[in-house]
Symmetry: C2
Amino acid sequence: MDTSLSRDPIAEAQRNWEEHGWGDAAASMAAITAIMRTQQILLARIETTLKPFGLTFARYELLALLSFARKGSLPMNKASALLQVHPTSITNAVDRLERAGLVERSRHPTDGRTTLIELTAAGRTLAKRSTAALNAGVFSAPGFDAGDVDQLIRILGAFRRNAGDFQD
Amino acid sequence: MDTSLSRDPIAEAQRNWEEHGWGDAAASMAAITAIMRTQQILLARIETTLKPFGLTFARYELLALLSFARKGSLPMNKASALLQVHPTSITNAVDRLERAGLVERSRHPTDGRTTLIELTAAGRTLAKRSTAALNAGVFSAPGFDAGDVDQLIRILGAFRRNAGDFQD
DNA sequence: TGAATATACTAGGACATCCAACGTTTGGTG
DNA sequence: CACCAAACGTTGGATGTCCTAGTATATTCA
């Protein structure tokens, strides 16, 4: 699993693409494959950092989102929209967080369809601690060269806007 | 699930980070979150394109890798190393591809521990067709701005090298 | 007002990924 | 030559994601 190869397998795939006459798609294929692999590496680091807290990244994201909510609570459909995942993924995450005593479900006062999620005291504490750990262990030194972080934010921001994630 | 937000939720998260005094980690957090989301968008497009062929991206990657192998066959541990996924993921993919008649397992002639994977004729045909579909539907127009593809390859290549993916 | 439509959440299933543990085969070492 | 550590693949379990379908509640409109 964690063996270092002598050559970049993605660059190798790009060469294969070019040799087969798919030169117009080769570079994009390489970029997309690199995004896939980078996501995998980063996710593994994040999960390792969160493991001591009993959290996964999916659950952490929800916890962090709730900790920034002004009212301290959020409808499940809002969480689904903001985290940009399927509603059933939110249900799954809330189930586990609730079982761990970190959040609680409550009925919406006026709309009987919606369920509100709210942090418990334990949830709020864990959100702070795990965020500090992620900042220290991953975000403050992610391994990108200087200046590249801003490039990534720009490039991927444009891509996500093109993909319809947001208007702005 | 596919609702367009008025504002970029990742930029919003970055602002939250900065307001809480985590300015040194805010930009990296935003870049990493953007990578996660971009991967999700691209994977969804790829899976949609592959669905008519009865393939998932994981199975396609293995199929494509085999189609480039000189001998037409590859040990499972090689596939695991080149695709950079856990050996059990290869076992899973080969199980399904074999059941679909696209690949076959065979014993290594000299080393009794290793298993070789080989494309069937049907597998080779499907690899070609699905690659053409991906090139046409995703890779040839991925939605990145001009010049950004090369930037991505450079930035993510450096990251992966730092992460120990390859020497080069 | 009452029926049709839309929205919100949940249940069940398919798929992929990882980890831990296991059995088999190799190959180096005493 | 025998033994044991290492390598290889598989099984079983946990997690997350998505999809489809179903139930309950709101909203719209005839």
